[in-house]
């Protein structure tokens, strides 16, 4: 089984420096592209590979790039941004790539920037990733020194500067238009779309924002071709995927596997099954803002289409397992506390609604709930759902709540009947 993204990542030794990275075939893709591949051909190649955005939305990366203005009339500078603000609770996959092989990300960024002819690039890194920040600073300097960044890269006439920006902590910075506001020194509130960032992004210029894992796939697609990339997958979505499992399993971790492995294989084989004494009750398949799946869904494929068909989303592909000793009401209260705290406050349903949802769940958990509270929660999953808010934060928050009310309604009812948490 091929693992292109992680084959050179070894937790027991430091990541490859530039020379070592080159010896494993690193920067060959930049040489190939700078040696005469057109930006349009690179966009087409990535589109054909069916690489889909790994940040959670799952949009075809090549198509995203193709919406940027090209040619002599295009506004400049154009920007390419790596979204490394990994902050979805339960998600820890990009940290592996950032700490394990920073040059792979830098190479992917150079290629993406070439495809859209951007001259300025940023890594937007979350504050807490200090180790990744140190490694990226060192690696970006190495890439400048070797001529992969800066003026006239490898004599191609293509220029690219790269900067590291570390955030100061806000979940909403992961939303791409909020990220742009943060980079402009503003409060990280999402922007209205349209205009899309491809037309008017950072400082009003054409901009592409891609997830770290997405960008790390690009060098391998350039080196090996679109058909090879599609062949890595068990499903119609191309490539491998970094999957993760956390919670009360025997071996929590991250693994690069063919896109479309089943949930059962991930939990039972890679994570070693549940810890002794615990049973599986529910799973958030792709981070805190995805709907619960349960034991009946174990055989679904973990790809974009299959997880959506089962009523949830692949999201970031890093699943959180809820065991049968953890109270679902307390679990969902923890999630809603997070979303209420991280709401940017711009639109009323999200700013006002999420704290109410959090309070209702807390009163249920303390045994002070009434049957009307369950109806109120159900109503909020509609009121804060898609179409009623400015961005996807509140609808994302409602996904685990609405599915918890569906699959674990008995647990909610017992809190009211017993006037206490039955798990205490």
């Amino acid at each position: 089984m091929e693992r292109p993204l992680t084959k050179n990542i070894h937790p027991d030794r430091p990541p490859l420096n530039l020379k070592e990275y080159e010896m494993t075939g690193g920067y060959a893709a930049v040489r190939k592209v700078c040696g005469g591949m057109s930006p349009a051909a690179l966009q087409k190649l990535v589109q054909d590979s069916n690489l889909k955005g790994r940040g959670g939305a799952g949009f075809n990366t090549g198509i995203k790039w193709s919406l940027i203005p090209m040619g002599d009339q295009a506004p400049h500078p154009k920007y390419l941004i790596a979204n490394a603000d990994e902050m979805e609770p339960g998600t820890f996959k990009d940290r592996l790539l950032l700490e394990g092989n920073p040059h792979q990300l830098i190479e992917g960024m150079i290629l993406a920037a070439y495809a859209i002819q951007a001259e300025i690039s940023y890594v937007f890194l979350r504050w807490a990733y200090h180790k990744a920040a140190d490694l990226l600073r060192k690696s970006i300097q190495e890439a400048y020194d070797a001529g992969y960044l800066g003026r006239d890269i490898l004599g191609s006439g293509f220029h690219l500067d790269m900067y590291l920006h570390t955030g100061v902590g806000r979940y909403i910075c992961g939303e791409e238009t909020a990220l742009l506001n943060a980079l402009e020194g503003k409060r990280a509130m999402p922007r209205a779309k349209p205009p899309f960032p491809q037309i008017s992004g950072l400082f009003g210029k054409p901009t592409i924002v891609n997830n770290v894992e997405t960008l790390c796939c690009v060098p391998h697609i350039v080196n090996n071709g679109a058909d090879w990339f599609k062949g890595l997958s068990y499903s119609e979505d191309g490539g491998t995927k970094l999957y993760g499992v956390s919670g009360k399993v025997k071996r929590p971790g991250t693994w690069e596997l063919p896109m479309g492995v089943t949930m059962r294989e991930l939990i039972e084989e890679h994570a070693g099954g549940m810890k002794n004494g615990f049973g599986l009750k529910g799973v958030l398949p792709g981070g805190a803002s995805t709907d619960f799946l349960t034991t009946q869904h174990l055989d679904i494929k973990m790809d974009y289409k299959s997880v959506t068909a089962a009523g949830s989303r692949l999201g970031t592909g890093t699943m959180i397992v809820m065991d049968n000793g953890t109270c679902p009401v307390g679990f969902v209260h923890n999630l809603q506390h997070f979303f209420a705290q991280e709401s940017c406050g711009w639109c009323t349903p999200c700013r006002e609604g999420l704290p109410w949802v959090e309070k209702i769940l807390l009163s249920l958990e303390k045994g002070e709930g009434t049957p009307e509270d369950i109806e109120l929660l159900k109503m909020h999953t509609q009121l804060l759902g898609p179409g009623n808010t400015f961005c996807a934060l509140a609808p994302g928050a409602m996904e685990p709540l609405q599915s918890a009310l569906k699959y674990f309604h008995e647990d909610f009812e017992k809190h009211i009947e017993y006037k206490k948490c039955p798990y205490d």
């Binding site: 990994e86 998600t91 979350r126 902590g169 979940y171 919670g247 971790g253 923890n334």
Partner: protein
Amino acid sequence: MLTAIEKQEIDHEISLVPYKRASVIEALKIVQQHRGWVSDESVEAIADYLEISAAEVDSVATFYNLIFRRPVGRHVILLCDSISCYVMGYRALYKALEEKLHIHMGETSADERFTLLPNACLGCCDHAPALMIDKDLYSDVAPAMLDDILKKYA
């Protein structure tokens, strides 16, 4: 008043962006780096230097979780309270820290040694529960390990 070194570092950030105002987050980070937190006077000094209003600087400063608008202790403990850590023992860890330091979330110990703050997901979910002290990440933390961890910080 900003110091010469603070101005020099802010000037570098200004040189990388199309207009001064865009470096306000960097300016806040620089001041916090040197002084530990961002006072009202610092907000006004940054506003003057970037030629924007103090209210605008403060609206940014108070939006972000890790810009401190109140003094903090010599060391800041960020305790992850997100879902994987919640499942794996965050509550026991919080209780143990409260008992050891005699403070609740958001407070600073009487000897000004530690400030305890909640933090959203540290990206360490496969080794939960996790906490960070200054720039050091601790994973798979059990309450029994806290004494050994805390004694490293004077």
